[in-house]
Symmetry: C2
Subunit: 450 residues, 2 copies
């Protein structure tokens, strides 16, 4: 396979073909291109060109392309399509993707678009999916699945399955339900390939099947599916009825998005942005944490102002404030990151107090090693052993406190039901800067007996 | 589904049963427990208990359990098993998992273990997989797959497929090869369900199939599979022969591990550690970046020492060094994180110089807003407009430089073929601390005309 590569030349070529309205060339050129790659091209076009291309290509390709576009590009294109045209695209999509697109449409046209969908069963399924919270298993699932009833004979089952499979992109499992639609078990495709067709359903189905509740959080669904290596999981409602199915490709997206969000929070970026977003969007994502950092810095300055009398005799103490702040910040970020990851992966066992004691020992060990280094350097550099000692002792205490704060805050937030990832990055750095500098001057004062 | 929950009570109960050698109770208790959950239990046991349990349970369950264990627990257990016992476990595993376990065994027993595997075909496949770099498509793939030859008739094809499917956990796709084993296309399972059995292979197979080269990097395979929503991808060798298959569950692990690694690098943790690792392991992972931070802080202290003459008249400048360092660090981390994510997702378009210009504008915008805030606060606080102005102007310059460094370093590393993620976190923070403070004093000196 030669992987598709988006080049400026390709985009210019397509733009030229659109200007020339050379429809045949365009169709020929894009015929063999995967919809995910077509989406990459469309993302680079302006609104009119993009709309032209979407209208030109077959709707079985454009519908999938639409689902892969950047949100703003998709919004602009859908704005240029009639309700009927949008409905035709939705007709081609699986219910989950169709529902996601409808959820983005302006409220006033939603009803019209839905009423234009010809397959009323499909429309009904989409409307049902719109009821669920985006941030739940119901918001992720699709209605497309293959199910058979436990009281059917195999002949009926195979016939029904074939009909249902026509609408399902990937079959994975055949779910078995009772006559009230309650999930009872599954038939594996492999069994289907390797079992004689004369067998009866109730004899072959596997009565055990993992499922998730329709209100389950996407992260939990992701954890279950990746722990048990599932490629699809059925979704059941409050009384155990089979209402939909989540496939692994959607879960891969959930995992990627979760990881990106945590990474951005740790880096002090408060909204989902990409390098190619506008300067204004990037500023809105970055400025809040910087302002927090600014106030932290003002706090640190105020603290130092409070120790003003020390500056004449012990100016060197002031030279080490960036070092103290940096170490407090780094240790805090390290401890909080480990806790946040442990919480995300459910591998934290034992009590909070045990965890704090462990972090204290760990931080003390690191602190003593670093303080010893610092003592040697500073002593040789300035030749003043007592000042060097004061700075080094402070460093140990600052590191221990920073480690405890970094461990405690995410655990505390988790207990309160708040996403602990917000405690990483600038939040920890800033609070540790202030605490660190306060502790540093206070200890130094004590050690130097000022 | 009531999800499995690992509790201390359950672990104690199992430990007690092991002490009492109550094998029947143990087998009954764990019969219905998924192997991934059994692995969680075994991770909590001591070496002897764990070995006892692994020896007791059926090898079709224990083999899967082994693949899910923490590496050190697995190593300890395998140490207590004979080569024959290990071979029996490997017999039950797919080739990729078996090869992963063999790769961890001490060199001197590898040959013995392989020679004890009864299924020689399986053994040969495992040995072939051992040849590939762990960090490549070949290192991820399994030999288990279903393939048919294009020149077969459907009857032969179905018969062969049934036999092959017995060894394959999940079928996904049926690959079509020519008589030299070169990959030609695929048959979808859905087509199989919905097409008459009388059709001939060459008429029904899809001549287009995504595949990856056996030397491709796992991250690239993950990108391709998640972009095109693939659940399995065939792997071909240098001359296009089908040599294996990678399934999405392995790719989910790759994505998770990549995300964790990047997150830890950004947080200044240099090795793959978990909260429950020993203090010593955690120290080794955390200390290197802290030492870097220490030297950065010493550098900053040295720079301030160089501006000693300013301390008597402009002590306030020294109070703001933590603020300057923090802002330089935060801006640097933000810019580098956005670039690192953009590189990981392949969404960076345009030249490096355009990107630097954009970051400069962005940083300048943020810098001006922050400097205005800082100017007001400092002016009101100290009543000294010129000092406040000097600090604020410095802040703008520091932020712009920090943004440029944060943007440039990951782009530069990527060009050099080095993982740009190492440039995030403490690396950027530390270098920006030093540059920031140097620029700050230099500009302040200039503005105040000292």
């Amino acid at each position: 396979m030669t992987p598709f590569k988006l080049t400026d030349e390709l985009v210019s070529e397509i733009e030229q073909l659109i200007i020339n309205q050379d429809d045949q060339q365009l169709q020929g050129l894009l015929k063999e291109v995967h919809f995910a790659d077509v989406a990459e091209i469309v993302n680079e076009l302006n609104e009119d060109e993009a709309t032209y291309l979407i209208k030109l290509l077959d709707s079985d390709k454009t519908s999938d392309t639409l689902t892969e576009l950047d949100e703003d590009v998709r919004e602009a294109i859908l704005n240029n399509l009639s309700s009927k045209e949008i409905a035709e695209e939705l007709e081609e999509l699986d219910t989950d993707d169709a529902a996601d697109i409808i959820a983005e449409l302006p409220k006033e046209i939603v009803q019209e678009v839905i009423s234009e969908i010809e397959d009323r069963e499909h429309a009904k399924d989409i409307v049902e999916l719109l009821r669920y919270d985006e941030n739940s298993a119901g918001g992720l699932m699709a209605k497309e699945l293959v199910k058979v009833q436990e009281d059917w004979d195999v002949l009926k089952c195979v016939k029904e399955m074939r009909a249902q499979a026509e609408n399902v992109t990937r079959v994975h499992s055949i779910y078995v339900v009772d006559n009230e639609d309650k999930l009872k078990g599954r038939l594996s495709l492999k069994d289907l390939l390797t079992t004689s067709t004369k067998t009866h359903i109730s004899e072959v189905y596997i009565p055990k099947v993992d499922s998730v509740d329709v209100h389950e959080k996407p992260e939990e669904v992701a954890k279950i599916m990746s722990k048990y290596d599932l490629e699809a999981i059925p979704v059941v409602d409050e009384i155990g009825r089979l209402v939909g199915r989540i496939t692994i490709d959607d879960i891969v997206d959930v995992i990627r998005e979760e990881a990106e969000k945590d990474y951005q929070l740790a880096a002090g970026i408060s909204q989902d942005v990409e390098a190619d977003d506008s300067i204004w969007e990037l500023t809105r994502a970055r400025l809040p944490w910087l302002i927090l950092g600014l106030f932290g810095g003002l706090g640190a300055a105020a603290i130092m102002g409070g120790f003003e009398e020390m500056i004449s005799k012990h100016a060197i103490l002031f030279y080490f404030t960036p070092l103290i702040a940096a170490m407090a910040g780094n240790v805090g970020v390290q401890s909080s990151a480990i806790i946040v990851q442990g919480l995300a992966n459910d591998d934290l066992k034992g009590s909070i107090s045990n965890r704090l004691i462990k972090e204290m020992l760990l931080a003390a060990l690191n602190g003593i090693i670093l303080a010893a280094l610092l003592l040697l350097f500073t002593w040789f550099w300035k030749g003043d052993f007592y000042t060097a000692l004061a700075i080094s002792i402070s460093l140990i205490v600052v590191i221990v406190v920073a480690g405890i704060i970094g461990t405690f805050i995410p655990l505390f937030l988790e207990k309160r039901g708040i996403d602990p990832a917000i405690a990483t990055g600038p939040f920890i750095t800033t609070s540790n800067d202030i605490f660190g500098i306060l502790i540093y001057f206070w200890i130094a004062k004590l050690v130097l007996g000022i």
